[in-house]
Amino acid sequence: MTGLQIVLTALAAVIAIWLIVLIALGRDPGDWLYGALGLLEVGLLVQLVIGLVRLGGDHAGVNLPAYVGYLVGSLLILPAAFAWSVGERSRAGTGVLLVAVVVIPVLFLRLHQLWA
């Protein structure tokens, strides 16, 4: 994985633990948590740019549509989760955010496999 992906995975892990605590306490996410999710999304945007720039170099044997698909698709997860979770302010609504945050590192693994 790239350095950025490792940093973003660590951020996602911190947010995941944060969300688990919120779910356990039955509390709703606050501004700080949404800020952290926003930061993660910015990181994914940076990854998209870096990923596309990488394609300028040697990329023989890379499944291009899948690679770009994962780069772009990763940007959709968090906004979709946010929109869907605010529809129900409950533990389950917070659980939606948890699923989204767990999915992000899985996408990194896929991107890593696709590039290798």
């Binding site: 499944n63 549509p65 899948a66 698909g69 698709g73 959709l76 997860i77 979709a80 989760a81 869907w84 979770s85 529809g87 129900e88 409950s90 389950a92 609504g93 659980g95 939606v96 699923v99 989204a100 999915v103 899985v106």
Partner: protein, 139 residues
């Protein structure tokens, strides 16, 4: 609240719909990538891939909008799909695979677990409600 029928998207259903949404996106995107690259390479496998994506899309929509019968049918199709494709598929055929191949091994076996969870959820949220409705003037 006790007399009200809770929709399938409420509570745990909210998480379930999101997971279904992720699979709708990934299965459909995968099929489109496969079909765009080499549609003639493995038409049956790629069509199956697209079919699985459509099944997930309909299941997601049905669960999100409380259409229980459609949800039940699509989840049953999904269950049969993952069991049949999982049994028939060759694990080596990575390039020709759908999300159901090898029982969803490429997706952490979530495609195998998901229909069971979906059926359980439909049963759980529907339990007792047909009986309750007899005492309710309107739904």
């Amino acid at each position: 609240m006790s007399g009200q029928r809770s929709p399938t998207r409420s509570g745990f259903g909210r998480v379930l719909v999101f997971v279904y949404g992720i699979f709708a996106l990934s299965a459909t995107a995968r099929a489109i990538v496969q079909l765009s690259r080499q549609a003639s390479d493995a038409p049956v496998a790629y069509s199956l891939s697209l079919f699985s994506g459509i099944v997930y899309i309909v299941a997601t929509w049905a669960l999100a909008t409380d259409r229980r019968r459609i949800a039940l049918v699509t989840i049953c199709v999904e269950l049969i799909g993952v069991l049949v494709v999982g049994t028939l598929s060759h694990p080596d055929d990575l390039d020709k695979a759908s999300v159901w191949s090898d029982y969803g091994n490429g997706y952490g076996f979530v495609p195998l677990v998901l229909p069971f969870v979906g059926l359980w959820w439909l049963w759980w949220i529907g339990r007792g409600q047909s009986g309750d409705r007899a005492h309710q003037p309107a739904d």
